[in-house]
Symmetry: C2
Subunit: 370 residues, 2 copies
């Protein structure tokens, strides 16, 4: 069967070349006589893979030397606990509640200290990034160890287009679903983290990029598990214990693909083109409507619906018949969601766009004929 | 290059057929039009992979219905924290300190409550499983939430040949390096856990098998991260968040290979044959000696040395020239270690045995001629 158009929110499409290279090396990694899957993480061959993976990420994101890069396990959900355990030194942090995962991060932090909701958009079902203006004053007042945001809200199709002003307070961002979708100014953050399974690689790897001075004193809380101790993991090169060796190797291949394909500026340009095609259809449509407010729209996840659950289901079923997969919205909200990460080609987005127009033509003429 | 003889302690050799099947499916999983690496963990195709993986493990280990099976991330090291956070209900547990990881588990537990060392073999550099006789009385005295053992000590080449009597106190075992090496009587345990990267699959998956009544009330400690909450993970089928989808899929292939190759009884028989070949050489050798006391010898990791660090280094270098990899001892102890997990064929062990004899003949004749 031909490859489908894969709009899954994660795990998600990977570049075909990455898969081909991985398959070709799977039984014998470059004459080593073994698969990367079978290779000791303490071997010089694997250490070279790890080092180049980190170096390539540092190049494409222009990560300053004052930041440490970790490749951990457990996804963003485990980081929701690790971050307060490492960083809540005075016991209070601010959270922007802009979606489901932002809220989960906020709730998890409440186990470890005072987690203050600085802004929320739950009143309008997370259809926007909340007003961030009050944050500057709150941060200036003091007493916050960090401010946490979820920079792209996968489920609700919203994204920060401007970062909040937090002054001296470190900004901590879950960037899982926009990581590598566009350039990030790493120095604007105290800590960035991302599950790899959107743009960076397979599920099972979490990338953490932390400013050294925030982690060099070790975890704020003594109950932090050793595995989640950012200082220790940094000093051990993410190998306090056996890491997800194969997942990191695959991330390395994806990073190399990003670099060879023009870097993050090129990724952003392509992602904006893909997003604009879909948003332009939504803006003109009398059947579909986007669920995110225009000023908060994501370039990674485009969420939309007809307003009729049966029609949504018919659209999703018809999509599958056309080889368009992963288009169903998150189970919390229903509707549709097209995740258009780096490895989703323009041709897939054009196929979806054509189908949306075809479906609309069919269903508005049906409506007219009734 | 031909495949090497891979004696790595983990990540470790995988069955060639598993690698071949994985490579063949890597671009298109059985007509789905995508790789398993790209597949939503919420898709019916992936759920079927997950369900069969669990079902196959239940068959080969004869896991009773009263036990839950989880596939998590973070390795045994993260479980060292998760176990006390979930199970230390009265705040005290017993630990048998039989090696490096057993000691790490004991130390980590001290963050969460009273972790009592019930027995240790550190006095003889962990060359044996300590005397377990006192445990029965201590367990009968009461006050222990569980007793923790590390059933096979990878670094020191020792293994329990009889489980301790813990009466009503649940036995919790890190079985990472003997998991699937031989049958386990699951009902003897309250909880079993294992990093997959020895016998079960790739690095990045931790298998947890827990008696339901021990986890059904949720974590003992409120500071347990949601990710590590065994009750929640069980209720979500290990998918509180995105699991290591590809790692679990590979575990499923390894489980199927174990089942098709005769199950755990056949694995044990083959592993004992491999171990006996190496131990018989050690017992007859005037150059090499095994480091584990005979009554505590592992069938998974055979540790030995010459007593001369330079000679050990020469042996390891010569091994590499013969395509024998991963034979160096753990960096904490030096010497040599042959990890002879399920996927290491008898032919590899014979190649190592022949080289040991050749090396000994060469070096004892050299010694004589001086």
């Amino acid at each position: 069967m031909a490859r489908v158009h894969n709009f899954s929110a994660g795990p998600a499409a990977l570049p075909l070349g990455v898969l081909e290279e991985t398959a070709a090396e799977l039984l014998d990694y470059r004459g080593s006589g073994m698969s990367v899957l079978e290779m000791s993480h303490r071997s010089s061959t694997y250490q070279a893979i790890y080092d180049e993976t980190e170096a390539c990420l540092r190049r494409i994101l222009s990560i300053p030397d004052t930041y440490r890069v970790l490749f951990l396990q457990g996804g963003a959900t485990l980081e929701f606990a690790a971050i307060p355990m490492n960083l809540m030194r005075t016991g209070r942090a601010g959270y922007v509640v802009s979606g489901n995962f932002a809220k989960k991060a906020w709730e998890e932090a409440q186990r470890y200290g005072e987690a203050e909701a600085l802004a929320t958009s739950e009143d309008t079902h997370f259809d926007r990034i909340p007003n961030l203006a009050p944050l500057a004053d709150r941060c200036a007042t003091g007493g916050l160890d960090y401010v946490h945001i979820c920079q792209n809200n996968t489920i609700f199709g919203t994204m920060y287009h401007k970062l909040p002003e937090t002054g001296e307070v470190p900004l901590v961002a879950d960037v899982s679903s926009c990581f590598l979708s566009l350039p990030l100014d790493v120095e604007r953050y105290g800590l960035i983290y991302a599950g790899a399974q959107k743009n960076a690689g397979p599920a099972g790897v979490t990338v953490v990029i932390a400013r050294e001075d925030l982690i060099e004193d070790g975890p704020a809380l003594g109950i932090c598990p050793s595995y989640l101790d950012f200082r220790t993991q940094a000093s051990k090169g993410s190998m306090l214990n056996t890491p997800n060796t194969f997942g990191i190797y695959l991330c390395g291949k994806v990073f190399a693909w990003v670099e060879a394909t023009g870097g993050l500026a090129a990724m952003e340009q392509r992602n904006r083109q893909k997003a604009e095609l879909l948003y332009s259809i939504l803006d003109k449509s009398s059947l579909f409507h986007g669920t995110a407010q225009p000023g908060s729209r994501s370039i990674a996840n485009v969420t939309f619906r007809t307003g009729d659950a049966e029609l949504d289901a018919a659209f999703i079923a018809g999509a599958r018949e056309r080889g368009i997969e992963g288009i169903g919205g998150h189970r919390l909200v229903g509707g549709m969601r097209a995740s258009i990460y780096n490895a989703v080609p323009m041709e897939s987005v054009e196929a979806l766009a054509a189908y949306m127009q075809e479906f609309e033509a069919q269903h508005t003429s049906t409506a007219r004929s009734l």
